[in-house]
């Protein structure tokens, strides 16, 4: 996996909540046995009209977002199907960072991203940033207010900065283990195989209850 340390680029908005992975990459593209080529199909049903031309109603199609590499959206992004193709599509379409709001506190806390999607992002070098709803609203207003608004992310320092007329910086939390992996671009399997002796020892006494 390619390491992620810092990134600066144009920020684009997708003002919808509960965007599911069927929308990010529809089922017809899951038939591929390759790991590449998904980029142009990201958000397919929203992005294109029936004859394949760009849908002018879809906000990410606006010319000012053509070179975007950061996305700001609403809560529960990436819910539904476990398809990693959704993350491959976004990454291959140029997105390096996705920002979504968490909601509530304590028992009512709801994260910005669905579990499996967020996990899949971490395996593909895509950074998922969760901020409060108020902070995300500020970012939406900033994006709508300024053409070509750029933002930058420093993962080590856990800071997101909007480079508008005046600079605004947000601090975000990040899971320490995922952060470390992203910063170093570590390969999960290689890391886990360092514990192969532990796995073997575990298997000596562990019952899997299977009839052979």
């Amino acid at each position: 996996m390619e390491a992620f340390t810092t990134h600066r680029g144009i920020l684009a908005p997708l003002d919808r909540a509960n965007v599911d992975t069927d929308q990010i990459i529809p089922k017809q593209f899951l038939k591929s046995i390759a790991r590449t080529g998904f980029g142009p199909s990201a958000f397919f049903d929203w992005r294109y009209l029936l004859m394949g031309e760009d849908n002018p109603e879809f906000e990410l199609n606006e010319a000012r977002y053509a070179d975007r590499s950061l996305l700001v959206t609403r809560n529960n992004f990436g819910c539904g199907s476990s398809r990693e193709h959704a993350v491959w599509a976004l990454a291959q379409d140029g997105y390096k960072v996705i920002i979504a709001p968490y909601r509530g506190e304590g028992d009512d806390y709801i994260p910005g991203f669905a579990d499996i999607f967020k996990n899949n992002c971490s395996k593909n070098g895509v950074v998922t940033i969760e901020l409060s709803e108020a902070e995300v609203e500020t970012i939406f207003q900033a994006v709508y207010g300024e053409d070509g608004l750029e933002a930058s992310v420093d993962l080590e320092k856990q800071k997101l900065t909007l480079h508008g007329d005046s600079e605004v910086t947000f601090d975000f939390d990040y899971d320490a283990s995922v952060k470390n992996k992203l910063l170093k671009g570590l390969d999960d399997i290689e890391e886990s195989l360092l514990f192969l002796d532990d796995i073997k020892k575990f298997e000596e006494t562990h019952a899997t209850w299977i009839h052979q």
């Binding site: 509960n18 529809p26 038939k31 299977i210």
Partner: protein, 488 residues
């Protein structure tokens, strides 16, 4: 300084005395090692594989020169791409065909058990796992498929993973996981007639929303859960992911053991091994004083038949209530509700029972087991489908199909005008020839009403098999409790 009531207890003893939940018992039994970064290396007992999310994982193994560590714990079938009509043995779509062939090659090369097209045990991965005895209590079970939560009905920690993790499990038989939270969902009381497990889980999602369970593992319990068959329990756990949860669990009990032993299931332990396993399985239920991170209680006796009206499983209502207005849907913004209404071709205040349906689909890993078909058949027995609609019944596995035919259910469905199909995912996700046309409205026993899920532009309403069957006859949704004067 120690207080007067303190005992000198070593940490390991302390742990022994601590009350645990079902989830914690399974988790603790599978931790190979806790890692310094706060995750745990978790051993995986069963890995189910299907054609869609595995080819890139096998390719990854090839590129790194790694092998499948435990092919005997890995099982495979084809379900998403397979046609379910009489052309099922020959896939016409060349891309689908290539994907299915890739799985065949990968399984052959790695020595993985495959239930391919034409095999008498082929079917939807989450239907055949329990059927073949691959799924038993107390396991960790994963699959590159979000509806893996289904297997939690056996008291097994089962969850969906992405393709990178599929590769990780193939190579190491483990996963690095952060321990999720526990969320107890208790259904008290008894269900009303014609209200069933699909209605219970849709009601739950309506209450907590599609992200309400994020980061948690549900444990479903209470009188109404204990009364359910294994098939019905699988329906509830299947849709745990629709509530955002990592997994859903139900404690194994006599119903579970009876299902496992009801017939010869090839991978269930035998003889002394079974006795030993059974001893362990009986220890799995949560201790009475175990503590959950969150709890929710729902009165099952008050649940009405549910119908989804929108484009998210949380957009669901009682069949006898009108479609909600823009500000009447907790957890969804007015804008999102408007988008859903527009997509579904509905107006606020409208009754779903007035909507004409174009298709009725009974099938999917949620509701295509034998009991689902029995319930649906009982509703349509001696009746005809409405002339204007298409009615499809797609068994979840070839075994379910065979059993249904032995019971004459196929005759009932065909006499009612239904298409009687072969096993596969079919119209649940339209990766195969079964799909909706744009703006077609469908009563579906599947799990997701996302935009385009059953075909681009298609409009999905999620319901139970009985509600779908009644809708096929009436041509529109009905309140099955009062339909035909309540004599159903």
């Amino acid at each position: 300084m120690k207080g007067i009531l303190s005992y000198n207890v070593s940490p390991s003893n302390q742990e022994l005395f601590m009350a645990k939940t079902l989830f914690e018992k399974i988790w603790d039994r599978h931790v190979v090692r806790d890692l310094p970064d706060g995750t745990s290396l978790l051993y995986i007992d069963r890995h189910l594989v299907h054609e869609v999310t595995s080819p890139q994982a096998f390719e990854g193994l090839r590129l790194t020169g790694r092998e499948v560590r435990h092919p005997e714990l890995t099982f495979s079938t084809m379900d998403h791409n397979v046609p379910t009509d009489d052309t099922r043995l020959t896939i016409k779509d060349p891309i689908s065909k290539a994907q299915v062939e890739a799985l065949e090659t990968n399984c052959n090369e790695s020595g993985i058990h495959l239930y391919g097209i034409g095999d008498e045990n082929q079917g939807i991965v989450h239907v055949i796992g329990p059927e073949m005895g691959i799924t038993v209590p107390g396991l960790t079970l994963v699959c590159g498929d979000s509806h893996t939560s289904t297997h939690g009905a056996f008291g097994t920690l089962a969850f969906g993973i992405g393709t990178s993790e599929v590769e990780h499990v193939l190579a190491t038989q483990t996963l690095r996981q952060k321990k999720p939270k526990t969320f107890k969902v208790e259904f008290t009381g008894k269900l009303s007639p014609h209200v069933h497990s699909k209605d219970m889980v849709l009601k739950l999602i309506g209450i907590i929303g599609t992200a309400g369970g994020t980061g948690s593992v549900f444990e479903f319990c209470g009188e109404a859960i204990e009364a359910l068959s294994m098939e019905a329990r699988m329906t509830i756990c299947n849709m745990a992911i629709e509530g955002g949860a990592k997994a859903g669990l139900i404690a194994p009990d006599q119903t579970t053991f009876d299902y496992i032993l009801a017939q010869d299931r090839p991978f269930v332990p035998k003889g002394e091994a079974l006795e030993k396993a059974m001893e362990e399985w009986k220890k799995l239920p949560s201790d009475p004083d175990a503590v959950f991170d969150r709890t929710l209680t729902i009165d099952a006796s008050k649940i009405a038949p549910q119908v989804s009206w929108g484009t998210s499983p949380g957009m669901v209502i009682d069949v006898d209530t009108p479609v909600p207005g823009l500000d009447e849907v907790p957890g969804y913004s007015a804008g999102d509700v408007q988008k859903a209404l527009d997509y579904m071709g509905l107006d606020a205040g409208q009754k779903l029972t007035d909507c004409k349906l174009d298709t009725v689909f009974i099938g999917s890993c949620t509701n295509a087991r034998i009991e689902d078909l029995r319930r649906a058949a009982a509703v349509v027995d001696g009746k005809k489908k409405a002339d204007h609609l298409r009615f499809m019944v797609v068994p979840g596995s070839q075994q379910v199909r065979k059993q249904a035919e032995a019971e004459g259910l196929d005759v009932i469905f065909k006499a009612a005008g239904a298409e009687w199909r072969w096993a596969g995912c079919s119209m649940c996700l339209a990766m195969n020839p079964d799909k909706l046309a744009p703006q077609e409205r469908c009563a579906s026993t599947s799990n997701r009403n996302f935009e385009g899920r059953q075909g681009a532009g298609g409009r999905t309403h999620l319901v139970s098999p009985e509600m779908a069957a009644a809708a096929a006859v009436a041509g529109h949704f009905v309140d099955i409790r009062t339909w035909n004067g309540g004599e159903n």
